[in-house]
Symmetry: C2
Subunit: 357 residues, 2 copies
C-alpha cells in the first residue's frame, strides 16, 4: 500500500503561485514512481486574501493547516507601500504566525555554490554550509512595546527572549546536523560581548552539548566578524547555529554570496513532529515581476528537495537536487547570451531531467 | 597665537600601541606647519591595565579623559580565552563605557574602495558611502537580565531601547551628512516588519525629518536585504542611518567588501561638543600579531583624518587622506610580490608624502 502524505500548499502572493506551480510539478514527477502519494490541499493566504476578507491567519486556517503532514509555501506579502496593507504586516502575521504556532524551532538554510553559478565574490572557494537558525525566540517574539507614541518622549522597546529550553533544543539539532556532515564543524554566531545575558546562555549551552559530540569541532564568531568571513572566506563554514535575528541577516548574506536569493531554499522545521514542517524559498513575493513568468523557481524546487529529505524520502530529495544541479550547470554552459527561460521552462527542464534518469 | 588642542591618547592592547604610534607620527607631521598644537596625554587603559590594577574604567579615568578636546584610541581587548579576563568584558566596560558616558551618539564609519585595493568582490563598482550608526541606544544599552541562571529553566532577555530623542538626533545628523554629499541619498536600514515598535519609531522620524531636507532622496531597506546589496551593488549606498546593532554588523561587512578591516576608520562623535569625540580604527587588538610590526596602521591614520575633520582642520584632514590614498595606490603598483612593510614603514611612508607636499 502506498504511503499517503497530506501536503498543505500555500502559493501566496506575487511570484509565489508561479514558483509553487513548478515546485509541485517537480514533486509530482519525482514521486511518480515512488510508493507515496501527496494529497494536496491549497490554502489561499496572503495579501490578496487579506484584501478580500480582512483575515491574515485565522484559528480555523491554523487548525486546517496543522492537520497536514507538511507545508509548501511560495511567498507572501503585497506591493510595498500599498496603503490598504499599511497596518496588516502580512509577513509577521502569516509567516511568523505559522512559524511560531507550529513551533518551527529549527529554521534550516543550506548554502551551496552550485558549479557554474556566477556570484559576487571573486574567489569564493568551495561553499557548502548550512545555517541552523532558531525560529521561535530571540527578538522575533513580539514582546516589544512603546509609550508616548508620536510624541517627542516616545520610548520604543524590543525584547529578545531566550530560554534554556529553546536554545538547547536548537543547539542539539545543530550538533546532530554537524555530526552527519563530513567536516563536522559547528560555529556559534552571536554577539556575546554586548548581548551578555543571551550570549552567555547560548555559549554555555553550546559548550555543554559539545561534550556529547566529541567529533564535532566547535568555534565561535561575533556576528559582525561572521559577516566578514562570509565574504572573505565562506568555505570556513560548515554548520552555523545562531539566533533568529542573526540567522535572518546571515542567511540573506549567505544566499547573496552563493549566487542569489533565487537559489536559496529553507525549511521551517518542527523536529518533534508534533506539527507539520514548512518549506519555502527564502525570496519574497517580488510583486514587481509577478505574473510575468520571470521568476526563477529553483529556490522553490530546492525547497521540495528539503521537504522530501524531511519526510524520509531522501532518495527522491537527492534526485531533485541532482536535477537542479545539472540544470544550473547547463545554464552556465549556455552562457549569458542564451534566450531567457520562463518560470515554467525551468520547471519543465528539471522535470525532463527527472523523468529521463 | 596657536590653537591648543588637548588630545587624550589611549593606545590600548595588542596592536593598539603600534598603530597609534604611527597615527601620532602622522598627526604631528600634518600639523607641523599649522597654527595648532596637540597637547597629548596618554592613558593606559585596556586588558593590560585591568590585569595590573583590576580597573577597567574608573570615574577618575572618565573625568580625566572628559577634560580633553578629543580622543584617539587604538584597540582594546586581551587574548581571547584568557581566563583572567573571563569576567572583565573589557570591550563592553571600556569601549562602550566611553561611548555611552561621553554621549557618542553618532558612530561615523565611512567606506571607500581606494583605487588599487584588492577586495573580495568581483565587480564592486565605485564604493563611497558612510554609515551613521546610532551609538547610545538599541540593544547596546545593557538592559538585559536573566533568571534561573544555569538551570534548564533559565530565561535570558535583552532589551533594545529606542527613544524619540535618541533616534531623532542621529537621524538629523545623518540627513545633514547626506545633504553635504554629492549624491544626497539616505537609506534607513532596520527590520520594521519584525521589530515593529522600534522600526515604526525610526521610520516615522526619518519621514518627518525628510520634509526638512527636500534635496535628500530617502529610501528604506530591511537589514537582511541591505547585506545582499552590500555584496551585489554596494555603489547604491550613499549615507546609511541605522541602529547600534545593525550598524555594528553592516560596518564590518562594509569594511570587508572595501578591502578589509585594516583600512576602516571610525569616529564616535558627540556632535553637541559637550564631550570629547573619540576616533578609532574599526579593527580590534589582534593579540596574535601584536608587537611584531605586522599590523597595518592605515585605519588608525585614517581615523586621524576624521579627527582633524571633526576639529575643523579640514585641510589637514584632506592632506592625510590624500597621502593615504597615494600610499595605497603605490602598494598596488608595487604588487603583491614586493617586500612586506612594517607598521612603522607604512607610517613613515605616509609621513614622507605629507612632508613632501
Ligand atoms: C519576511 C520576514 C518576516 C522573514 C524573517 O525575517 O524571518 C524573512 O526575512 C525570512 O528570512 O524568512
Ligand atoms: C568591541 C565591540 C563592543 C564593538 C561594538 O560592538 O560596537 C566593535 O565591534 C565595534 O564595532 O566597534
Amino acid at each position: 500500500m502506498s504511503r499517503q502524505i497530506k501536503l498543505a500548499v500555500i502559493p501566496g502572493d506575487g511570484i509565489g503561485p508561479e514558483v509553487i506551480a513548478e515546485a509541485v510539478k517537480v514533486l509530482d514527477a519525482v514521486t511518480a514512481r515512488e510508493e507515496v502519494t501527496f494529497e494536496k490541499t491549497e490554502f489561499s493566504l496572503g495579501a490578496a486574501r487579506f484584501l478580500e476578507t480582512g483575515d491574515v491567519l485565522t484559528d480555523a486556517d491554523l487548525a486546517a493547516i496543522a492537520s497536514h503532514d507538511a507545508i509548501l509555501l511560495g511567498a507572501v506579502g503585497g506591493v510595498p507601500g500599498d496603503p490598504r496593507l499599511a497596518d496588516a504586516n502580512i509577513e509577521r502575521g502569516l509567516l511568523l504566525g505559522l512559524r511560531f504556532s507550529l513551533d518551527h524551532y529549527v529554521n534550516l538554510r543550506p548554502s551551496v555554490i552550485f558549479p557554474g553559478v556566477p556570484g559576487p565574490l571573486a574567489a569564493p572557494g568551495a561553499v557548502d554550509f548550512v545555517v541552523v537558525r532558531e525560529g521561535t525566540e530571540g527578538p522575533y517574539v513580539g514582546n516589544g512595546g512603546s509609550i508616548r507614541q508620536g510624541t517627542s518622549h516616545e520610548v520604543a522597546n524590543e525584547v529578545s527572549v531566550n530560554t534554556a529550553f529553546g536554545v538547547e533544543r536548537v543547539v542539539r539539532h545543530a550538533f546532530a546536523v554537524a555530526q552527519g556532515r563530513p567536516a563536522r564543524r559547528l560555529t556559534l554566531v552571536h554577539k556575546t560581548n554586548v548581548l551578555v545575558f543571551a550570549g552567555s546562555l547560548w555559549q554555555r549551552i553550546v559548550l555543554a552539548v559539545a561534550t556529547e559530540y566529541p567529533d564535532v569541532t566547535v568555534d565561535y564568531l561575533h556576528v559582525d566578524a561572521a559577516t566578514i568571513f562570509m565574504v572573505t572566506q565562506p568555505s570556513r563554514f560548515d554548520v552555523i547555529v545562531t539566533d533568529n535575528l542573526f540567522g535572518d541577516i546571515l542567511t540573506d548574506l549567505a544566499a547573496a554570496i552563493s549566487g542569489g536569493i533565487g537559489l536559496a531554499a529553507s525549511g521551517n522545521i518542527n523536529p518533534d513532529g508534533r506539527f507539520p514542517s514548512m518549506f519555502e524559498p527564502v525570496h519574497g513575493s517580488a510583486p514587481d515581476i509577478a505574473g510575468k513568468q520571470l521568476a526563477d523557481p529553483t529556490a522553490a524546487i530546492l525547497s521540495v528537495a528539503l521537504l522530501l529529505d524531511h519526510l524520509g524520502l531522501t532518495e527522491a530529495g537527492a534526485r531533485v537536487k541532482a536535477a537542479v544541479t545539472a540544470d544550473i550547470a547547463d545554464r552556465a554552459d549556455r552562457g549569458v547570451d542564451s534566450a531567457p527561460r520562463s518560470t515554467a521552462d525551468v520547471g519543465d527542464a528539471i522535470v525532463t531531467r527527472l523523468t529521463e534518469t
